[in-house]
């Protein structure tokens, strides 16, 4: 079992490394959207630093959405998902590992990159650690929702993904941005982190099984 999990993990790592577009396009998307906000709103540092947590969170949310939706597509098209479902093994580790590797390749670079908002959007530098922590806790939940949307709309390229993911992600967006703004206002942000963590732990098994159920629909 652990052997199989390890193999899936390495296979995923290799396939992501070879398809650089899957992890490069969210990065490019993130940088462009960040650059759009000063152009569209204002280049006044005072305005931007006030809006920075919200802008960063929205950009992260949208760029994560870009890659997570296609998480199962390649395995579906080349038939490896087919083989996995015909094997008599639990599909839970497959789903969890795929989400994990997708998160490492698409969300993690964006989280690291989002530290640039300190000078791009003039986020007060003491708020950066809080912003990064909130992103680290919050993005896995968005990945979960994205994986579910990807599993439900498998093989159909449509705008279904955002319609499913974005309303579900509202609590994370609210908690994540509130953590940063409340810290900048001199409050303790640990409540928001705990809430996000609680949501993640609560949803992890639920969404994973929902994903499996959704994937299985394509093999009935």
């Amino acid at each position: 079992m652990t052997n199989l999990a390890k193999r899936i993990f390495y296979k995923e790592l290799v396939s992501y490394r070879k398809r650089s577009s899957t992890y490069l396009s969210p990065i490019v998307f993130f940088l462009i959207t960040i650059a759009l906000y000063p152009l569209a709103l204002s280049n006044d540092p005072a305005d931007l630093s006030f809006l920075a947590p919200g802008i960063t969170w929205i950009c992260v949310l949208l760029s994560t959405l870009l890659s997570i939706q296609n998480i199962f597509n390649e395995d579906f098209e080349d038939g490896s998902l087919d083989i996995f479902f015909s094997l008599r093994v639990s599909t839970l580790p497959l789903v969890i590992l795929k989400i994990l590797v997708n998160w490492i390749f698409s969300s993690l670079p964006i989280i690291i990159l989002s530290s640039t908002v300190v000078f791009l959007l003039f986020l007060p530098s003491e708020g950066l650690v809080i912003l990064l922590t909130s992103l680290l806790i919050g993005t896995p939940v968005i990945s979960l929702f994205g994986a579910l949307a990807g599993a439900l709309s498998l093989g159909k390229s449509s705008i279904l993904g955002p319609a499913i993911v974005l309303p579900l992600s509202l609590p994370i967006l609210i908690l994540g941005t509130s953590a940063v703004t409340s810290f900048l206002n001199g409050e303790n942000p640990s409540f928001y982190f705990l809430m996000m963590l609680a949501i993640f732990i609560f949803l992890l098994p639920l969404i994973c099984y929902a994903c499996i159920g959704a994937l299985r629909l394509h093999y009935e």
Partner: protein, 248 residues
């Protein structure tokens, strides 16, 4: 006790059979139509034309007789869809899938009605068509959920997998809706707009309350009616080539 349970069980099994449902709904629809027409007209006509004017808001408060029932119905429909989703996932009952498929557009339209009537009500009383208040926001999210369910259903060509996919989404939505609602409520207390205050009239006079209750009842009946009709149409569509439907 045992007999009652058995009756319940046979009723449940009958509920799962589409020919039975098609026949029974055909018989009950005229009665439901009559009742819902009666309650709806009495409730709304009484409320809109004959109930006393609110001394604070004037006549515009009469929107309550459409707005509150619509808001109540829009949430209840999602609850019933959640129950159907559980049934559909555990027992693979095809009628549950038909139920979700038929109710989703009805739920969407009543949520839309709640949103738009609230907005039209808000314009004269608060001075704006829309404010980012907790209830409005979570109703908007509910509307997006309905739309997502409808569009997910239409993206599948195979009915069986469409039913299952929609059940999964409905359940995930049902689990998340309280979280969304709580977080939006709590977000709203952070960003409370100071100028607009909601004065919840705690004691509503009976002359205003009775038509409201009748109107709410009428809305539930009309939802039942359109649900029955939509399910009948869906059954007919899915089972056009079945022997029982050809001979019906």
């Amino acid at each position: 006790m045992n007999r009652a349970f058995n009756n319940l069980k046979t009723f449940y099994h009958k509920l799962g059979s589409s020919p039975w449902f098609y026949r029974i709904s055909g018989i009950t629809i005229p009665y439901v139509a009559l009742l819902s027409f009666l309650f709806l007209t009495i409730g709304i006509v009484w409320g809109v034309f004959f109930s006393p004017t609110d001394f604070k808001q004037g006549d515009v408060y009469r929107i309550i007789y459409m707005h509150v029932p619509a808001a109540s119905v829009s949430q209840s429909i999602y609850y019933t869809m959640t129950v159907a989703a559980v049934v559909s996932m555990i027992w693979r009952m095809k009628m549950a899938g038909i139920f979700i498929k038929s109710m989703a557009p009805i739920g969407a339209s009543f949520t839309f009605l709640a949103l738009i009537s609230g907005s039209i009500w808000g314009q004269p009383t608060w001075g704006t068509w829309w404010i980012w208040d907790a209830r409005l926001t979570s109703t908007l999210v509910l509307f997006i959920f309905y739309v997502a369910i409808i569009s997910l259903y239409s993206s599948f060509s195979e009915k069986k997998s469409a039913d299952q996919a929609v059940s999964i989404l409905t359940l995930v939505g049902a689990v998340n809706l309280p979280i969304i609602k709580k977080s939006v409520d709590w977000w709203n207390t952070l960003h409370q707009p100071a100028s607009i205050k909601f004065t919840e009239s705690s004691s509503i006079s009976p002359e205003m309350l009775y038509p409201l209750i009748i109107s709410i009842f009428g809305f539930y009946l009309v939802v039942l009616l359109s649900g029955l009709m939509a399910m009948r149409a869906e059954i007919a569509k899915r089972e056009t080539n079945k022997e029982w439907f050809k001979n019906y």
